[in-house]
Amino acid sequence: MKRLVRAAAFGAALATLAFGLQAQPKPAAKGASGDTIKIAYIDPLSGTFANVGEQGLAEFRFAVSRINAAGGVLGGRKLEVIGFDNKTSPQESLNQLKRVIDQGIQYITQGNGSAVAGALIEAINRHNERNPGKEILYLNYAAVDPAYTNEKCSFWHFRFDANSDMKMESLTSWMAGRKEIKKVYLLNQDYSFGHAVKKAAREYLAKKRPDIQIVGDDLHPLGKVTDFAPYVAKIKAAGADTVITGNWGNDMSLLVKAGRDAGLNVDWYTYYAGGLGTPTAMGEAAAGKVKIVAEYHSNVANNKAAKWDADYRKQAPKGNPDFYYLRGKIMWDMLAKAMNQAKSADPKAVAIALEGMKHEGEMGEVEMRKSDHQLIQPLYIMTIVKSAAKGGPKDAKIDMEGSGLAPITEARMEAFTSAQPTSCVMKRP
């Protein structure tokens, strides 16, 4: 029996490891087509955040197929996005990066998890320094820790999402005018991004609304909490009227769901409540209570991306119809433009073309700031309300995931309002 007890203890330890290991997605055969420019999508395709990773992959494949259908880049070369599963782990991402390098792929894109982004930036800097001519370019579409366009900025990294500070700047600017906000609770994931949200929230609120009381400030482990009821009870006990959270994926859905079950009456100020599965999990009780800051939503006025949005929905994966990453479309358009401008698919030439590039985005002009490789872009503050079909306001036309909830615009923040100064000292090769 002693052996069995040991086996059990060993089993518990192994279980954590075990479920991390999953089947690898099949890489395309090496050099299958010399003309195709491959981009490695290094994001979770298994584990807790697999759903989030799958959505990005589906949208990017759509965007790339459109570019290819319109003639590709560089006079006929095609783009191809290949999925590499990193399980949201920095260590696993580095393993995947090695595979990417081995396959001769020179572009990567990643978004979920700033810890992952940090590991990738460091590894790519090192690789590029040692392997001139075989550089890797990193297109970041969602990892928003401000450090990567400040003290840890890199020539090889371009961020197409507004960073956490820019989002918080917009969110707090809007909160400043809401006199009913008196007590704020901060609840974030315990890793670099969550810390960045918490720090910026405290700093900007102190500046813009010193009268607001921060009644609680908690960090919880990333993707490990099943039951948020204890956190909700704590928020309630603190008497908060508003919660600010940077949570994403299941951490966001489960939190709002627990709040709903306990009848917690607060306004949620979020980055990612529009993310996959969250509207479904929140249900109609969330109507009017949840705010999001993001670069796009489907009900935005004068929507120049409306046709794109509708076309995507027509062929979207089953059970996951929403179009989410407008910044992804902008990223691919800018990449194609940069390749054409540089007349080359060489990452260094493309990076130089991307620096300072201005682009007529669907929501207005955007600029890839040369000094830190941060895309400066307009942002929207939106509220989730009942969709028009369920008796909500009539501009809440397109609902989210068939949940009966739809976003409407509260405010548009022009590109210059959210832009933050940078401490980046860019080292160019």
Binding site: L4, G11, A23, S46, T226, K234, K257, G263
Partner: protein
């Protein structure tokens, strides 16, 4: 005081869900000596089956049918897989269930995709059960507790008060004698393994819509149920019950405390505490709280 009461209820209901999850594991272990690594995967299967059934014919039939289906899968696994591996000893069994966990995970990906599915709490169980000074307590949590306690009582009654229970207990210690008395011991083991899987499946039916039904849900609870079984004492149902409540409350109350030790707040360390408890338990009392088998 109100806060304390709410948190206690939260802790107990989470603990009871953990008990539903770990009871099957500890039963299979105590009756068959098999440490079932795929137990959490049966939990996940339960949730997905329930999602599929409730989409077609409603939640209440799913509550019965899904565990039965999972139990059938468990019995098939025992009959056509585990039984042949049994003669090679415990390590082979462990590795077999280890591989099975992957197999089920991948099967779930293939059939239902990698995103969460919309498996919802039925309308009649959705809403507040009662209010404690302004705080709502959801009906579904109460329902969860009820099922869990009913499960504990019925397992206990089945094992100690019924004929089949006695045969099962006897088959464990004296399989040859039981066989000589005319009982089909391999079939008893098959029923036990299937029963354990069905219990996990039932936990999946309840847990799947209380939280989220997605392919990562097995991984999320996999480690914690082993902790419960070790802390409670391998093979002890009552031990697993106490350990589940203990760990449920421990995690809940750790979140509520704003103390910090050397810069690490207790709240952010909450998810680590069960593992700490397991390590301490193994050092100080290797057989667990109520385990009868001394290591």
């Amino acid at each position: 005081m109100e806060f304390f009461l709410v948190q206690t209820l939260n802790g107990i209901s989470y603990g009871l869900l953990l008990f539903m999850l770990s009871s099957g594991l500890t039963l299979v272990f105590s009756l068959m000596g098999v440490l079932n690594f795929a137990h959490a995967s049966f939990y996940m299967l339960g949730a997905y089956f329930a999602y599929q059934i409730s989409a077609k014919i409603g939640f209440w039939p799913a509550l019965v049918l899904a565990p039965v289906l999972v139990g059938t899968v468990g019995m098939l696994v025992e009959r056509w897989g585990l039984r042949s591996v049994h003669k090679f000893g415990h390590v082979a069994e462990l590795l077999f269930t280890f591989g099975l966990a992957y197999l089920i995970d991948e099967a779930v990906h293939l059939v239902w995709g990698r995103s969460a599915v919309e498996y919802r709490v039925p309308a009649e169980l959705d809403g507040p059960l009662f209010q404690i000074m302004g705080s709502q307590y959801p009906i579904y949590r109460g329902f969860m507790m009820l099922i869990s306690v009913a499960m504990l009582v019925s397992i206990w009654l089945a094992l100690t008060r019924t004929r089949i229970g006695l045969v099962i207990q006897a088959a464990l210690t004296h399989p040859h004698t039981v066989e000589a008395l005319g009982h089909n011991v391999p079939r008893v083991f098959m029923l036990v393994f299937g029963g354990g899987a069905a219990l996990a499946g039932l936990a999946g039916v309840i847990g799947g819509n209380a939280f989220v039904t997605e392919p990562g849900m097995a991984a999320a609870v996999g480690p914690i149920i082993f902790v419960i079984v070790v802390v409670g004492g391998m093979g002890s149902l009552a031990g697993a019950f106490i350990a589940s409540l203990l760990i449920g409350c421990l995690q809940t109350f750790a979140v509520s405390l704003d103390w910090s030790l050397g810069g690490i707040s207790i709240a952010s360390a909450a998810p680590v505490l069960p593992y700490l408890l397991m390590v301490l338990m193994l050092i100080l009392r290797p057989r667990g709280l109520l385990g009868t088998r001394d290591g």
